[in-house]
Symmetry: C2
Subunit: 392 residues, 2 copies
Amino acid sequence: MNKFSSNRAQGIKPFYVMDLLARAGQLQAEGRSVIHLEVGEPDFATAQPIIDAGIAALQQQHTHYTAALGMPALRQKIADYYLREYGLEIAPERIVITPGASGALQLVLAALLDVNDEVLLSDPGYPCNRNIAQILGAKTRAAPVSADTAFQLTAEQVDAHWKSRTRAAMVASPSNPTGTLIAPQALRRLQQCVAAHKGFLIVDEIYQGLVYSGNKFTALQLEEEDDNLIVINSFSKYFGMTGWRIGWAVLPERLVEVVDRLAQNLFLAPPTVAQHAAMRALDADCMAIFDSRVEAFRQRRDYLLPALRETGFKIGAEPQGAFYIYADCSDFSRDSFSWCHNLLESEAVAVTPGIDFGEHRAGDFVRFAYTRPVEQLEIAVERIINYINKNQ
Amino acid sequence: MNKFSSNRAQGIKPFYVMDLLARAGQLQAEGRSVIHLEVGEPDFATAQPIIDAGIAALQQQHTHYTAALGMPALRQKIADYYLREYGLEIAPERIVITPGASGALQLVLAALLDVNDEVLLSDPGYPCNRNIAQILGAKTRAAPVSADTAFQLTAEQVDAHWKSRTRAAMVASPSNPTGTLIAPQALRRLQQCVAAHKGFLIVDEIYQGLVYSGNKFTALQLEEEDDNLIVINSFSKYFGMTGWRIGWAVLPERLVEVVDRLAQNLFLAPPTVAQHAAMRALDADCMAIFDSRVEAFRQRRDYLLPALRETGFKIGAEPQGAFYIYADCSDFSRDSFSWCHNLLESEAVAVTPGIDFGEHRAGDFVRFAYTRPVEQLEIAVERIINYINKNQ
């Protein structure tokens, strides 16, 4: 091999869904109507009041850099949001604005992990977590999870997998790819367990608010004196601001200064217009728009979940948010990668194979992202049934 | 020490100018009129046609993710720009859109350097280069440069400092903090030298266009079959789009695929509205606006450079762009850090001490950023003269 780029870069596994996306594009160009259930992006555009706030910010020439950790007014407004929505008093100094949750994740991992340090994750899980750690020269240790624990890491697993170089454990609730939640009691046990190992618990709340039970929850409600909890959040999903690239993290106070220095060097600052627009997203009247979208997602899930089960997919842990269903397709195929490719070729339905989320039983699972209207989901299910019948 | 964060994070030196900025803010709150010559951001807002393009993009609801390497239309438009302005045919596939030049720098260093690999830099130089390498667990080797070589790295230095783990050398033209250029012949020698070591040459052209000679130049004009040249550029400085966070890199074709995978994981995508606005920035009529701003910067330099020399600063290498003058203050002080702090306290003029740009003779230098109108520069010079007279 002609090695011209770094091992760290070459070692990053591609997202297999990218090939599917490219092929779906070709099929569309050939005139076929592809149904996209592979993309983790809501179909809704950003809500109009937020767009208007972005336009107003541009009209007012807000085009210069902000502070590296974001505008103080936005940090304050997120603190106000936690007070209004969760009754929590979070010091705005602990809230740092980032270029998307991706930026937050990178800052947090760089702040905690040295080269060869480890972070403990679930398998399946969001693949960028593993890849960002690898880009930083750090390591991930993946604990296999199943429907038995709602695909969530447990305190017992943390104890079993914690090594001398482990610095943190990470969970997501709601989770990508499974749409499952972690119960508050389970999360508290996790936090205590991680604290006993003198580590940090990173909680990915990127899909916060996209939950159908109506119960609002943040890991910050559990916070004790341990001071080892890090929450990552985003304006992309619930707030519908994907392309703006804006997110945040809530940090223990002692981490803020090093994260500031990291952010100054890695990003200089988050995008200014996105920060101004995000201010508007936190207003109560905008939340009403988002909540109506959550209701639309709930209707989609309430259609798709039983429809997939009737079709023969096994879905053991109830997906309760985050517009994803992680479905066990092993009754049709133990090679979900090929199954997804063949489904796309045969029926023009695009879904993501389990391999993009880890290795544990990856061939037995596919992820459905219900980011399309119910009418399209109905057609997709028809086509999938057709495909399965053809191949039995 | 209670070590709770990573060594990589704790090892990042703070930017000393941040303390100066904070203190300047306090002085302003106390009613003093501070003249800011420390900030590396043009005082101009983004040009109106670009703002209008951003507004139009929002009105058209361009709020979703783009491809990780940016919109194909923007990559094509940058290719068109190289053809129109430099007569160069660059394949658009080699042009990757990034969240600011910071994003480009991180992608490039992550693509080239493994843990403990080295990149060769000049001292003084832009401090984020060193810090991003460190965040990645890689190393920098800094070659001391002086006015004798226009503060630019030479081929001889590359030969002298190249080690078995060195993978790349990096130069900037125009340079921050010195405002100096690298001559095309010197750059060609550098490229050949780096190629002989089988390394990559990274050329930071972030201040491209902000040059007073009128001679347009890009390192891409030198490109030979070596295929080892990487150019980093930005919409922040010449194009005046700092807060939008949008830049680009031109890569050898063989690096594009790994950079794509890195970008997917680190950033997902550059900000969408910024990409649409940047499309407009590349139109010829906008360039006329930028060129009139370059003329304003030239007038400022033409005032400030002789004024500082008359005041007693030694400026050996002519600053020819990038709104910076790196001035030798050793006739007044060999401790430029304290000198800057005292100047701010005494005269309310903020400039950046050499320590922010490296270690080589850092105490002998200060950086003036002429990002304020000539009238303010005149007052600043008066105050500096006053300060020097008081302290003789």
